[in-house]
């Protein structure tokens, strides 16, 4: 018996994890896909499932929910055409360059998927935001991901770089900067609602003074979105900070000292030595952060309930509302759209940025 | 020999390795490895890094699976047996001391795993620690010990349960030169005292020569020669063994052998009885030859550099880009750049087939 366990230890050790993932991750993933093609009716503690084909997706993309998921469309404005066409040209150029250089079928198909989604998102952007139309939850989620992660990356990295210098009170700063990460997102949501309160909040006098005393954050779409990004950044900059700090501190001392002896200025030292060293780590950190950012649901739910209208609603939140109105099919379909966007974005980023860098270094 | 192979503890066992092979995917790491190790023998496997010697050792230990072939310890076939049932102790190059356990706990670990009662265990640890003179350091952690002390802890852990086989994977290579010499002597003494069959892997030929009863020289996963240190030194079977043994290594000159003569552009050397070979190598050891005046020796060459090592002088000659080294007594003096001759006794010349490697022997007439 003992001998058997010893010989099959590999399987015994791996089995629980694999089983749990199969049951609670892979099975729901498949089930969710099937659900997205059905209408589910709850009846007396059980379910009645009816297959409806692409209807759930049709409704989201072209039907009555189109405004909700991707936005309202009218005419594309001149600016929209310019940006859209320019971006399309850039994408086409990129694909053609790839085909001409070193063609493989796997690489080509992967890039075509990236290409198709980038093109779709680009025209979505041109047709909604640049044409003065409201955009839907996909646009909002991408706003949270790209703008939020961008801000977090910039500030987190700068703080980490500052803290990696020889300064006094390094440990104190380190501990203070880490604090927001431990605070429950729900708590962050409420704390920032208090902060932003224009009549009772701590900055009420400031608002009065600049003449925004009666201004309500939650009724202006852009103010509400920015408000959520600020709260999200407050919470997640510590993560970027602590990872990037480790990255900066892992730069070998010899290298920077050798650079200084070679008469490199601080900027050159940063650009030539430090930055190339931390770049792969930075890319990984941002990938992790982006994966988590796509899932955002608690902050919009707490801070604005997705409002005003649907201005701050993320895709996850939309799926949750669909579930709450007992439309399980729609909830699954929306979730799958989110999954698709997430996977394509993150896989493209991973393959084209992180992986190609690794390949080059080898 | 007879005294050493005598089994004092009654626990030493012989090891038979029969055509053992190892494949990593399509890479053939160990080819037809066969050795019979007598009970109580000290066998050293010697070879350059990457020759498969550590793989062989790890296969004997059971840490790597055996792709094909058989392994017997004593009379038991252990080819498929888990490491812990093979009754083997191993000393690793890194010593593999458990950093979170004290010296006493480290030494006692094998006994703890064998569920030996605590009292007996303490006694055994005490004995083993005294044997390696560590009984005053039992409460320390490995990080508080010097390199030599760590090495001795690893040894104590190996001897504490009296295994039937010792395996050692370059155990001395992390020590500095002086300590290595001391530990070598201690190791040799301890092994003959305990009489436990030992297989020792190293790339250091001095360790091999001084420790071994027999040496097995490996290259590219193949055993080249097995024999006593003296045999492999003075009677190498091929070019590789000849070049690997000896420090400084054997000198080689390429040429051809025709009608009992070794011919090269600089010299003509008597090779009577050696069959004709197109690509032949003539070799001689630095200590077997002498520097003489130009034209008086077998070969003339320019002196490239002279090194004084204390007890001797090494004279290096430049011969068409290649180097020849001659060992001379410590009071020998010669200027660099001048031409000089090298002479040697005919009996100490070795000839090899440089295409395939084997030694060329004079036909027995």
């Amino acid at each position: 018996m003992n001998e058997w366990i010893d010989r099959n230890m590999g399987r015994v050790f791996l089995a629980p994890a694999v089983t749990l993932i199969l049951v609670f991750s892979i099975f729901p993933l498949v089930a969710s896909l099937l659900l997205s093609f059905t209408r589910v009716r709850l009846s007396g503690g059980g379910f009645k499932i009816r297959f409806v084909g692409w209807k759930n997706f049709e409704k989201q993309f072209f039907g009555s929910e189109q405004f909700h998921l991707i936005g309202t469309f009218t005419e594309i404005s001149v600016l929209g055409w310019i940006v859209g066409l320019a971006f399309t040209a850039v994408l086409l150029g990129w694909i053609i360059k790839y085909i001409r250089s070193h063609f493989t079928w796997v690489g080509f198909i992967g890039r075509m998927i990236t290409f198709a989604m980038a093109l779709g998102l680009c025209w979505l952007f041109s047709a909604t935001l640049l044409s003065g139309n409201p955009f839907g939850t996909v646009g909002v989620t991408l706003f949270y991901v790209f703008v939020g992660c961008g801000i977090q990356f910039l500030i987190g990295t700068s703080l980490a770089f500052a803290c990696s210098q020889r300064i006094m009170g390094k440990n104190a700063f380190r501990v203070i900067f880490f604090v927001p990460m431990m605070i429950t997102p729900i708590g962050v949501g409420y704390i920032f609602r208090m902060m932003a309160d224009t009549t009772k909040g701590p900055f009420a006098d400031v608002w009065q003074w600049v003449g925004l005393g009666e201004f309500a954050w939650a009724t202006n779409p852009w103010a509400a979105r920015i408000f959520i990004v600020v709260a999200d950044s407050w919470q997640w900059i510590p993560f970027v900070f602590i990872m990037m700090l480790a990255a900066f501190e892992s730069v070998p001392r010899d290298l920077t000292e050798a650079a200084e002896l070679d008469c490199a200025g601080p900027w050159q030292k940063f650009r030539e030595i430090i930055w190339p060293h931390v770049l792969p780590i930075a890319a990984t950190v941002m990938l992790i952060r982006a994966i988590e950012a796509f899932k955002i649901v608690d902050l919009p739910n707490i801070m604005t309930s997705g409002g005003p209208g649907i201005a701050t609603e993320s895709v996850s939140l939309q799926a949750y509302y669909a579930w709450r109105s007992l439309d399980l099919g729609a909830a699954s379909a929306i979730a799958y759209i989110l999954l698709f966007v997430t996977v394509v974005t993150c896989a493209s980023f991973f393959n084209l940025v992180i992986h190609s860098r690794i390949r080059k270094q080898r | 020999m007879a005294e050493e192979t005598e089994n004092r503890n009654g626990s030493a066992k012989s090891i038979s390795i029969r055509s053992m092979n190892k494949y990593y995917g399509s890479f053939h790491a160990l080819k037809d490895f066969s050795i019979e190790v007598e009970a109580g023998e000290f066998l050293v496997i010697l070879g350059p890094s990457g020759c498969g010697k550590s793989t062989a050792l790890r296969m004997i230990a059971g840490l790597e699976s055996i792709s094909s072939g058989e392994l017997l310890i004593g009379d038991t076939n252990v080819t498929e047996v888990l490491p812990k049932y093979r009754d083997i102790a191993m000393v690793f190059q890194s010593y593999a001391l458990y950093p979170h356990k004290t010296v006493a706990e480290n030494i006692g670990f094998p006994l703890k795993m064998a569920k030996v009662p605590t009292n007996e265990r303490h006694a055994a640890v005490q004995v083993a620690a005294e044997q390696v003179e560590l009984h005053n350091h039992l409460d320390r952690f490995p990080s508080q010990l010097s390199g030599g002390q760590r090495q001795r802890v690893a040894l104590a852990r190996a001897i504490v349960r009296r295994p039937s086989v010792f395996l050692m994977d370059e155990p001395l290579s992390n020590l500095d030169a002086k300590l290595r010499g001391n530990m070598r002597a201690e190791l040799k003494h301890m092994q003959s005292e305990l009489g436990i069959t030992t297989i020792y892997v190293t790339h250091d030929q001095i360790e091999a020569m001084t420790l071994a009863n027999r040496v097995a020289i490996m290259k590219d996963g193949v055993i080249q020669q097995i024999g006593t240190p003296k045999e492999v030194y003075s009677d190498p079977v091929n070019l590789f063994v000849a070049g690997f043994m000896g420090l400084p290594p054997m000198n080689f000159i390429n040429g051809t052998i025709t009608a009992g003569k070794f011919l090269t552009s600089d010299a003509e050397i008597d090779a009577s009885g050696i069959p004709d070979t197109k690509q032949a190598t003539f070799g001689f050891r630095p200590e077997d030859c002498k520097v003489v005046a130009a034209g008086k020796g077998l070969i003339d060459a320019n002196v490239y550099t002279v090194e004084m090592t204390g007890d001797q002088v090494l004279v290096t000659f430049d011969l068409r880009g290649g180097h020849l080294v001659v060992k001379m007594p410590k009071d020998f003096e010669i200027a660099t750049g001048i031409s000089a001759g090298i002479t040697l006794d005919k009996n100490q010349a070795y000839f090899f087939d440089s295409e395939h490697g084997p030694r060329l022997h004079a036909n027995q007439i």
């Binding site: 429950t184 739910n301 799926a319 | -």
Partner: protein
């Protein structure tokens, strides 16, 4: 300024690794400014918890005892008059996050250890058959009302037939890296994608609104993180140690317990902390899978929004403070391991 080296100026550093005065001033301003931005919301949270309706609604007061008289009103309300709900949610949160963390770290690090030490070569074809047949069996049972015994028997028989027959002929072997990637990539799944089927699963076995449902879910959701961090950590432990233990007669589990776990304390502590924070803070799964009995703190706090009188900020602040307190305490206790454990693994990966 007298101490400045003659050659150094405002923008010129005087020694390698040291900064000029101007850049140091900018640096400290930046760092102190950010500290204020980080700390002020927390300060406001704490003082709000000592306010009452009047001191909150009359506008901003900043300094206790100077601006306003602190009152324990909110604390009293939550701890004495309203304590039942809070206590239940608190205990639920503790039970769920502790169990989920322990389970996740144990199972995840076992898997990570196996992946870093044992070589696997599962056949992709066999796996695909397995997945395909499981899906087929499940669909035929649920959608086409086939008797489950028949479907299961046919599925198993087909699997063995295909795996033994076709699977032997065509082999595409996966490696440890593939398995690792598969496990880690599960983290990309947004909870919303899987939560509906999980909800239905737990409903069908009547486990909704129980601790078990949330524990299992959190355990799986956080497993990728554990596997990822611990895999890197285990890779830094020299293998010699374990091989030596193996020769000395330890079983693989013995080696894991005696040698590997004690040596990976730092990594385990950091991983535990991270998983603990994530489980403690989790919101969406709890929203779906718990209603009253298994309600966790985030859900309780989020629900405090729904009162008739608007949000009672003072009570809310107390609730948030006691909600974040355990995580902060845990972080303080495990603080010395964070930089050692989390970062080593993460930055390498």
């Amino acid at each position: 300024m007298k101490t400045l080296h003659p050659k150094s100026g405002l923008f010129e550093s005087r020694a390698i690794g040291e900064m000029a005065l101007a850049s140091r001033i900018i640096l400290y301003t930046l760092l102190l400014g950010w500290s204020a931005f980080v700390l002020f919301p927390i300060y406001w949270l704490i003082i709000t918890s000592f306010k009452n309706a009047a001191t909150v609604n009359q506008g901003p007061y900043f300094l206790p005892w100077i601006d306003f008289q602190p009152s324990m009103h909110a604390w009293y309300e939550l701890f004495v008059s309203d304590y039942e709900d809070t206590l239940r949610a608190y205990i639920n949160s503790i039970i769920i996050s502790l169990s989920a963390t322990a389970l996740s770290v144990l199972i995840g690090s076992m898997a990570a250890y196996a992946l870093s030490r044992v070589h696997y070569a599962p056949n992709l074809i066999t796996i695909l058959f397995f997945v395909f047949l499981v899906a087929l069996t499940w669909v035929s049972i649920s959608a086409f009302d086939v008797d489950w015994r028949v479907a299961l028997a046919v599925g198993v028989a087909l699997f063995f037939f295909l795996a033994r027959g076709v699977g032997r002929l065509h082999q595409i072997h996966l490696h440890n890296g593939d398995i690792l990637f598969w496990i880690i990539s599960q983290r990309i799944l947004a909870p919303i994608v899987v939560v509906v089927p999980i909800y239905m699963m737990f409903q069908s076995v009547r486990l909704l609104d129980t601790h078990m449902a949330l524990i299992l879910t959190y355990c799986v959701v956080n497993m990728p993180i554990v596997v990822w961090l611990m895999f890197d950590f285990f890779n830094t432990i020299p293998r010699d140690l374990e091989e030596s233990a193996q020769l000395d007669g330890a079983t693989m589990f013995g080696t894991f317990r005696e040698i590997v776990l004690p040596l990976s304390r730092a990594g385990l502590a950091a991983t535990t902390l991270l998983v603990m924070i994530l489980s403690w803070n989790e919101y969406l799964f709890a929203l779906f899978l718990s209603t009253t009995k298994a309600q966790t703190m985030p859900i309780l706090v989020a629900a405090m929004n729904a009162g008739e009188r608007g949000i009672l900020w003072w009570t809310m602040s107390v609730a948030i403070i006691i909600m974040i307190l355990p995580v902060v305490l845990l972080a303080v206790i495990l603080q010395k391991y964070i930089s050692k454990g989390l970062l080593v693994g993460a930055v390498k990966g």
